[in-house]
């Protein structure tokens, strides 16, 4: 019953709130011998695995540290270029740590704005008229539940990302909707469609998530 995160998408499709609760850190550290059988490349200011997926190190993972010292961009802490270290035979055996990079705020905004047309698509593709859009999206490692507000003009969508065995996510989503209508909509300093920056909303949301994780959704 783990909740990974909450996203709130406004009527126009922009992300107005995001909270990462428990994103598991995917990291693998391995010792390698010369020559390195994983192909690395430097793109988007990060050293990324491009080919040679094995043992928990997947394509797209980012190089996090070399021999224990963290890597920023393509240089280690002491200023040496990572590719130089990897190319030289003397540095081996070499211990490299790879992991999944956390999504930046910009990336999250892009992803959220991609959800929005997906929902529209789903409601139009439906063979039954008056479909409300995507309700649940299940993948192998997570489940995404969505709740769309009923007041037609401002259809805010509440998206909850949880582990696949989560039950009762619609109850949680309704409670988040209640919190939104209390601490965001009744706040005179909050304007509609803007990112939610209300302290009371944050604190009550955290409390709700902790309550759900501890005792489940039965007593909500």
């Amino acid at each position: 019953m783990v909740i990974y995160g909450i996203y709130i998408v406004s009527k126009s499709g922009g992300l107005i709130y995001n909270y990462d609760h428990n994103i598991p850190r995917v990291e693998t550290e391995k010792t390698f011998g010369f020559p390195l059988d994983i192909k690395l490349e430097y793109e988007n200011k990060k050293v990324v695995v491009v080919f040679g997926q094995r043992d928990g190190i997947n394509v797209g993972h980012v190089l996090l540290s070399v021999n224990g010292s963290p890597v920023s961009g393509r240089t280690t802490e002491d200023g040496r270029d990572v590719f130089d270290i990897i190319g030289v035979k003397d540095s081996y055996p070499l211990s490299l740590k790879f992991g999944r990079q956390r999504a930046t705020t910009n990336e999250k905004i892009v992803l959220a704005s991609m959800f929005y047309p997906l929902f529209a698509l789903a409601s139009q593709l439906s063979p039954v008229p008056k479909c409300s859009g995507i309700d649940t999206l299940t993948a192998d490692s997570f489940k995404l539940s969505c709740f769309q507000t009923l007041t037609g003009l401002s259809c805010v969508k509440f998206i909850l990302v949880t582990d696949p065995n989560m039950q009762g996510s619609d109850v949680v989503l309704r409670r988040i909707y209640e919190l939104y209508s209390d601490y965001a909509l009744k706040n005179p300093f909050y304007s509609l469609e803007m990112p939610i920056r209300c302290e009371l909303f944050d604190t009550s949301l955290h409390t709700l998530l902790e309550l759900v994780e501890k005792s489940g959704t039965s007593n909500l």
Binding site: D182, Y183, L185, K186, N187, P188, F189, R197, C198, E199, L200, F201
Partner: protein, 186 residues
Amino acid sequence: MSSSRSKTSILDKPLSKGKGEVSLALYALLFSEIVQYCQNRSHSIHELQTKLSEMGYDVGTRLLDLYFVRERNSKREIKLLNMLLFIKSTLWKVLFGKEADKLEHANDDERTYYIIEKDALVNKFISVPKDKGSLNCASFNAGIIEAVLTNGGFPAKVTAHWHKGTTYMVKFEDVVIARDKCLDDR
């Protein structure tokens, strides 16, 4: 042409008991709109608080007689402490459903009293952003208190502060303190 029943105006009917309960959500939305209205017409935090206080003043003026008739059986208070206790307990109870937490007298200044409450009802859903700093929307309540005191014969100035929750600092004029002393001496 002439109706068989005579139309009774509102002034002929006896005073009603009052509704007793109003939806909290409705009140919160109304108050949120009041704050936004005042904010659009102010250029500084101080001005915003003054405008809120003035709106509260208008409300308080109308509350004074009504609640003395309803709750105190049309008998008005002439002693300072009793008036403050009336505000702290009776008035707060009918307005917000609970009494204010504390009433204190300042140690150093005889003219200053403090009414303290931990969570003002009007602030329940309001998160003040960082750039608004010390704004306290309970200035509205401060305006109510000021109107009740001033129109009740105890001229005073009331301001709201963030201290132990929300503190309303009541500053009476010298006349009031002097008169109250005479009443006690008699």
